[in-house]
């Protein structure tokens, strides 16, 4: 059992701090939108496909609206105007809007505008209903073929080619994987559009596209039926297209998404404001679609030292949690991220890792939690690397992780081979089988190294929360408090895609999402 280590009041205090830290950011979020949010709106209306040059239609349209200086009213508004102009289909709407001199378009009379908005709202409601129906279909399949017990064994496929990925994902599912993550091609985070169609050329991963999502989910549906065990699919809702990807994933019935409030800022140098706005909308979609989000605190300790920066993980988790709750996500949807990353050459690392994982469990008792295996200190000696992963398997089952990324013995070399996944799955199954329930066998001593370390980490985590509250998140990020990376409010990519909402900003999806219970 994870100890108390700390009192319930202390945990509650951290939550208050997180609320106070995020409130001012919501002040900002509520006043802004981004090109990506607006593209998401259009996608949801059914604007699909790419233009002549291969650019997605939603990009063409939103760029047009932005160039015309009118995007701040919301793409939905202009979509409505296009319908008014007689557009017969979303595609047609795009064409009409792209052609029209929007700057000069006269405002509609108030009543007409209200009627138009109602019409658009109705269409949005229908689109939301359709999304819900798709999600319901997914949920029905999940009920028909119940998932295996947690920790859910999560493995990645990353061939660069969606068809090879399918091959590998099926094999992984057969070997016992509960969750398949399709890793994205390197630097997709920085693309300010979502590539289109099935793709077969990526580096270090496969492009996240709606069609790729569809292809993979279809294969996994098939495999789930064969195995009589639902196999989950996840991808990345990160980077400049956070919200669009969340939508595509929801539509294609994905089960989880990597989605973090700060990852893009820190690790992709994406503008801070842009990230906060996008993540909010993306999370609203996840909340609706019953998608579990996985946060990315584990990344902090691949750049910063895992022992020294342990507290930053905890601090960030509370902030991520608050952002998530504010976006309507329930506890069961919070795959809060942490990892087994302390340098294995140090003494006591199993105790230290148990301490950290238990502390996280103590703070977030109702969240599934997402546990990452060692990566940074992995060696090219695959036998050592395998032994090292096995210890992470043990901590995962000990602390009842909901989602466990399996370490790969070739982590320090290449993206996993088919056999690497097999080896990892076999070992994890053994450890889970062998050790399940170990948490109920032992009581952790409050005077031991584990408890003392947990309290020390906790203290620093609370201090950092207090600093974030006192000086603001922006200042804290500016000081490199998270992941040893410093970012400024106006630096990074994508700021040009952030717009202040007009007074009459119109986004019927946001209305729907925010009013959903």
């Amino acid at each position: 059992m994870p100890g108390p280590f700390i009192s319930d009041e202390q945990v509650a205090y951290a939550r208050t701090l997180a609320r106070d830290i995020t409130e001012p950011i919501f002040g900002h979020i509520d006043k802004h939108t981004t090109v990506s949010v607006e593209r998401t709106v259009l996608r949801w209306f059914g604007v699909e496909g790419v233009g002549a040059m291969g650019a997605p239609l939603v990009n063409l349209m939103v760029d047009r609206l932005q160039a015309a200086g009118v995007l701040n009213r919301g793409a939905a508004y202009w979509y409505g105007r296009a319908l008014k102009m007689g557009a017969s289909s979303p595609l047609d709407a795009v064409e009409r809007l792209t052609a029209a001199p929007l700057e000069k378009l006269a405002p509609l009379p108030a009543a007409e505008e209200a009627a138009m908005k109602d019409e658009v709202r109705a269409e949005a409601r229908a689109a939301v209903a359709e999304l819900k129906a798709r999600v319901a279909k997914r949920n029905a399949l999940r009920e028909e073929f119940p998932m295996g017990p947690a920790p859910h064994k999560y493995v990645i496929v990353a061939t660069g080619n969606i068809y090879d990925d399918v091959d590998q994902a099926r094999a992984a599912a057969q070997a016992g994987a509960d969750v398949i993550a399709v890793i994205r091609s390197t630097a997709q985070s920085l693309l300010d559009y979502v590539p289109h169609g099935a793709t077969t050329e990526g580096y270090g991963g496969t492009y996240a596209t709606q069609e790729n999502f569809r292809i993979m989910r279809e294969a996994l549906d098939d495999e789930s039926k064969k195995l009589k065990r639902y196999v989950q699919l996840t991808n990345y809702s990160s980077g400049l297209c956070m919200a669009e990807i969340a939508f595509a994933a929801a539509w294609e019935r994905l089960d989880m998404l990597l989605n973090d409030a700060m990852y893009g800022i820190l690790f992709r140098d994406i503008n801070l404001r842009r990230t906060f706005i996008d993540q909010y909308f993306s999370r609203r979609i996840c909340a609706l679609a019953g998608i579990i989000i996985n946060t990315g605190e584990d990344n902090y300790i691949t750049t910063a030292d895992a022992y020294d920066a342990a507290h930053t993980v905890i601090t960030s988790q509370f902030i991520n949690e608050r952002f998530a709750h504010r976006a309507g996500l329930k506890d069961w949807q919070l795959g809060i991220g942490h990892s087994y990353e302390i340098d294995p050459h140090r003494p006591d690392t199993l105790l230290l890792e148990l301490s950290q994982a238990m502390l996280v469990r103590r703070c977030f008792p109702d969240a599934p939690l997402k546990y990452m295996p060692p990566t940074k200190h992995k060696e090219t000696d695959i036998f050592f690397s395998h032994a090292y992963d096995v210890m992470a398997d043990l901590v995962a089952v000990w602390t009842n992780q909901g989602i466990q990324l399996l370490g790969m013995m070739t982590e320090a070399m290449h993206t996993p081979l088919l056999a690497d996944r097999y080896v990892a799955l076999k070992a994890a199954s053994y450890i889970h089988r062998a050790a399940k329930g170990i948490d109920r066998e032992f009581t952790v001593r409050e005077d031991g190294l584990i408890a003392n370390r947990a309290r020390a980490v906790w203290e620093r985590a609370v201090k950092l929360l207090e600093e974030c509250k006192a000086d603001g998140m922006v200042a804290a990020i500016g000081r490199g408090r998270f992941g040893d990376v410093k970012r400024t409010e106006t630096g990074g990519k994508g700021l040009e895609g952030v717009l202040e909402r007009a007074k009459d900003y119109f986004n019927p999806f946001l209305e729907e999402l925010e009013s959903a219970k």
Partner: protein, 259 residues
């Protein structure tokens, strides 16, 4: 897989030919040692050799882990494996069949011969308890099984089996260092020939490094490897007996799985 398609190793993508190797060279760890490891792999005909790890196993030994590609391709259709197909009868049916068709108990002798003392395998086949829920031959009322235990000289096993006119003799070989199991098995076959029982009795070989092909090569009638169940062996022996009695054609087996 489509007939005729050559088969290649699969690492990350179909037919990429990726394999993993590990080996130790008697040289101290150094850049030169790593280069030697690369050359070593190249001499094996491998390309795109990545010497992933070079570990100082001792002052004068380096342990290497490498990933590389090979052009080796196999013609699946051309691969020949004498596979032992055993479609089995269940416990009761098999006993009933022996009663009806053979009309007497089937006699088998088994031992771990030579210097080998690993009796767990032969016990699994012969003793009451059996193996992973499958009863051993002693449990079959229509079998009469003698388990002579371990370290039994080959000649002794044959002598005892001949005395009882055994239908089958079971030899277990577990220690395989420097092919001691093959040497001992060959010696068994020689003894069997000398005693003139090699044509009369069904001679079975088993053990963790035994397969049907190897056993045939060594002169046995069948070979049984890891995971063998007693019922596999019981069924095979009954077929052999019926065939010797002329009641069944050579190579026949029952269809379907045992009940």
């Amino acid at each position: 897989m489509a007939a005729g398609t050559p088969i290649r190793a699969y690492g990350d993508r179909r037919d990429d030919g990726v394999i993993q190797l590990s080996f130790t060279l008697p040289v101290p760890l150094s850049e030169k040692a790593k280069e030697a490891a690369k050359l070593f792999c190249q001499k094996l005909g491998l390309t795109e050799v990545k010497v992933a790890a070079a570990e100082r196993a001792a002052d004068n030994y380096t342990f290497f882990i490498a990933y590389a590609k090979t052009h080796v391709a196999l013609d699946w259709a051309a691969i020949d494996t004498p596979e032992l197909v055993i479609k089995k009868l269940g416990f009761d049916d098999l006993n009933a069949l022996i009663e009806k068709e053979v009309g007497r108990r089937v006699v088998v002798f088994g031992a771990c011969t030579g210097t080998d003392t690993h009796t767990v395998g032969i016990d699994a086949i012969l003793n009451m308890k059996g193996f992973s829920g499958d009863y051993g031959l002693e449990r079959y009322p229509w079998f009469e099984a003698f388990n002579l235990g371990s370290q039994v000289p080959n000649a002794e096993l044959i002598r005892r089996a001949a005395l009882k006119n055994a239908d089958a003799v079971l030899v277990s070989q577990v220690v395989t260092q420097r092919d001691v199991h093959k040497d001992n098995s060959r010696q068994f076959i020689e003894e069997a020939k000398k005693a003139g029982v090699d044509k009369k009795m069904t001679l079975l070989l088993g053990g963790p490094r035994v397969d049907h092909k190897l056993a045939l090569e060594l002169g046995f009638h069948a070979g049984f490897g890891p995971g063998t169940k007693p019922s596999d062996v019981a069924n095979f022996i009954v077929h052999q007996v019926l065939q010797r009695m002329g009641k069944e054609q050579r190579g026949q087996h029952w269809e379907g799985e045992p009940r």
